[in-house]
């Protein structure tokens, strides 16, 4: 090759390289609350995606406090501050789903993300009725889940004589004598109470509905208008809650912090909460064998309550397909989902990720998965926020014994009779 030709080729190569690097890359703006950055390896998977897609820049944005009006204001003008949002529970997302502001994700549910490969209860949390009422669809994709489950302090359980063959002795049944006999044994070994429940506005619904679902298979009223408050099972559970508190078995708290603190003292026998929060005891004791999981009687067949956080794409995003690729390749990757469980106890959505790769609570995973798979999310009624405000006025008072069961039921029915219970979730 002549020198001239060689230099021409080098020059052409240099110019081509300059042109390629100067070409505008596609930008994918991924927004997430700060806690997602902490509890998921978002920065790492963003770098991996960029490495796999050299023509793409992933811009990570730490969201300020969730503000649906701010986002909707932008979308109404045709722009969006982000292309993909990682996070958002059902009640947070309800307004934007109702307004039809998100991109349908039904086409994502194939291959390893096919519905049969995902935890049933978690996937159900992403299924909604279309805003125009013409059917059901997935406007968001749950990518992590939490299940309301009982965590027990294994040391206290052993002291109470409720430990056998390396497992907790389950609560035998919903029969009053058997139920309270079990808890009384645990109370005698637990200085701060046999059973902790948080009765704030959010957890109140799980505390009430989870055991009902385990007991009967449903927590809904027969007419679909709100939670079941009138059946024999509902009356029984509310009565039990009062008796637990009166007998010193139930250590109810009103705030998250008070509940978590009580559990993390290691002096409470059991805790009904999200599995991830129950695991926080390990941060104090350093020993995962201090915790075991179990469900309410019947939860192995009827499940419990779950809630999820989802990935979703604003409809006005100019890079929707790119966002979907990111979700498929990274958010639903084994690494991303297992990392969060291995560090913070957030449950994967993909069933196959519950085995190899999990580094702690391996022996508890079958119990957790079995309950989560049969669980259901809380409905998203049109007037859910108002409904929860009303329930939070009366249900904690029942649990704490400040109001009788019958009076509370009557007041709730009176105050909620004009609410709109249209459920935007698909069933």
């Amino acid at each position: 090759m002549s020198k001239k030709l060689f230099f021409v080729l080098v020059l052409v190569g240099l110019v081509a390289a300059m042109v390629v690097t100067a070409l505008p890359k596609q930008v994918l703006r991924v927004d997430a609350p700060p806690w997602i950055f902490k509890k998921f390896p978002l920065e790492e998977v963003a770098a991996r995606f960029e490495a796999d897609h050299p023509d793409v820049t992933v811009e990570l944005i730490r969201a300020d406090k969730w503000s649906a009006p701010t986002y909707i204001a932008a979308w109404k003008s045709g722009s969006t501050p982000f292309d993909l949002f990682i996070g958002g529970s059902g009640s947070m997302l309800a307004p934007i789903i109702e307004g039809g502001w998100t991109e349908p994700m039904d086409d994502m549910l194939r291959g390893c993300m096919a519905p049969e490969n995902l935890v049933g209860g978690f996937l159900a949390a992403g299924h909604y009725m279309k805003p125009d009422g013409s059917g059901a669809y997935y406007p968001v994709l749950p990518y992590m889940g939490e299940v309301s489950i009982i965590g027990v302090n294994t040391n206290l359980m052993k002291q109470a004589g409720l430990w056998k063959d390396g497992k907790p002795v389950p609560i035998p049944s919903w029969d009053e004598a058997a139920f309270f006999d079990w808890f009384t044994k645990l109370k005698d070994a637990s200085p701060l109470g046999a059973h902790v429940q948080i009765w704030d506005r959010e957890f109140m619904q799980y505390d009430y509905c989870g055991p009902l679902k385990a007991m009967t298979g449903t927590f809904m009223a027969a007419d679909g208008k709100g939670f079941d408050l009138t059946s024999e099972a509902a009356h029984k559970w509310l009565t039990y809650l009062q008796k637990m508190h009166a007998d010193g078995i139930g250590a109810w708290t009103i705030t998250d912090d008070a509940g978590y603190s009580k559990w993390k003292t290691g002096q409470a026998g059991s805790f009904y909460a999200a599995q991830g929060h129950i695991m926080e005891l390990v941060s104090v004791t350093g020993n995962e064998s201090d915790i075991a999981y179990m469900g309410w009687p019947g939860s192995d067949t009827n499940g419990s309550i779950i809630w999820t956080h989802s990935a979703w794409i604003p409809k006005v995003s100019p890079v929707k397909d790119l966002a979907k690729e990111f979700i498929r390749e990274q958010i639903f990757s084994r690494y991303f989902q297992q990392w969060s469980f291995n560090h913070y106890g957030k449950l994967p959505v993909v069933k196959a990720y519950y085995g190899d790769g999990i580094t702690w609570f391996q022996s508890e995973m079958p119990t957790i998965l079995a309950i989560a798979d049969k669980s259901a999310p809380i409905p998203l009624f049109a007037d859910l926020q108002e409904y929860l405000d009303i329930l939070s006025k009366y249900l904690p008072d029942v649990a704490f014994g400040r109001l009788s069961v019958d009076e509370a039921i009557q007041k709730i029915q009176e105050d909620t009779k004009n609410l709109d219970f249209t459920d935007i979730r698909a069933h």
Binding site: S67, A68, P69, I72, P95, I96, E98, G99, W101, L192, W199, D200, R201, T253, I254, T255, D257, A258, S261, K262, T265, Q385, E386, D389, S392, K393, Y394, P396, D397, F400, R402, D415
Partner: protein
């Protein structure tokens, strides 16, 4: 005024006028329009005018508004009394000191520089049921029946917030009243002493009447402060347990940013503003009447 002077005047006023228009006038009038409308921000294309129906529904049929209004009164009265009386007593005592006045002024003013939300977090930890220092001392003293979740009980949560807010704000009213006390001529007090007046008589007949303008300013500030309470219940209790610490501003916020009901949120905000104006006007009439009597 010449044309040039008018032009210069306008140029210098323009930035302030623009700011006022954009950030005060427009939000004021637009929210006023929203208060006469029904508007779900996520679902409705725009506000739908309904006139005063929204105000009627809020005033007479909204149980959460009623709860918030009652809570406002239950918060305001003890908060007013505690803040006012504490700052007045402290100001009088500090004023009697011959040394260390500035030191105590600084000490009592220090809580003012702490953000109210942080004050809430501090008091939440102080009053924690199992590990809070307050309950710890109660247990040591054997008063176990008071070992409760202070912010978790509907009967005590609101008053916990009263104590927290009063602790923070006593310093401000104290400074105002102290300034007033230090403006009272010493000769008047000395003359009273010579005439045989005791300390309490001095307070009643000389100090309090001389402090009237400062008492008015302090009382209006404390009152408006009590109506504006938002940070504390938002951070500490989120309006709970139940609705026991739901205040008017917090309810307005919840309507706007949780339920996205912009019309209803504006109604509550305007009703709250009307209450503040009404009570402030009442106070100003009271103090003007008293001042007129003295003349």
């Amino acid at each position: 005024m010449t044309i040039e002077k008018r032009r210069n005047l306008f140029i210098f006023l323009a930035p302030t006028l623009l700011f006022t228009l954009v950030f005060i006038a427009f939000p004021l009038f637009y929210s006023g329009y929203l208060s006469l409308s029904q508007y779900h921000y996520a679902v409705d294309a725009g506000p739908k005018f309904i006139g005063l129906k929204g105000y009627i529904d809020t005033l007479f049929h909204d149980q959460f508004f009623h709860d918030a209004l009652i809570n406002q009164i239950k918060f305001g009265i003890p908060y007013f009394i505690i803040t006012f009386l504490t700052s007045l007593v402290l100001a009088i005592l500090i004023n009697e000191l011959t040394r260390g006045v500035h030191f105590f002024q600084v000490i009592f003013y220090l809580p003012m520089i702490i953000p109210l939300s942080l004050v809430g977090v501090i008091f939440a930890w102080l009053l924690f049921p199992d590990i809070g220092i307050f309950n710890h001392f109660l247990r040591i003293l054997g008063i176990h029946q008071w070992n409760i979740e202070w912010f978790g009980s509907p009967g005590t949560a609101l008053y916990g917030l009263v104590i927290a807010q009063a602790w923070k704000n006593v310093g401000f009213t104290l400074i105002i009243l102290l300034a007033g006390l230090q403006g009272i001529p010493k000769s008047i007090r000395e003359a009273a002493k010579v005439d045989g007046a005791g300390f309490m008589r001095e307070i009643w007949s000389i100090i309090l009447p001389s402090l009237k303008p400062y008492l008015f300013i302090s009382s209006v500030w404390v009152l408006i402060n009590s109506m504006k309470v938002f940070d504390l219940p938002k951070v500490v209790t989120e309006g709970g347990p139940g609705t026991s610490t739901l205040t008017l501003y917090l309810y307005s916020w919840k309507l706007a940013f949780e339920r996205l009901q912009m019309g209803r949120a504006s109604q509550v905000a305007y009703i709250t503003a009307a209450i503040i104006l009404l009570v402030s006007w009442g106070l100003s009439r009271l103090f003007r009447h008293e001042a007129a009597k003295r003349r």
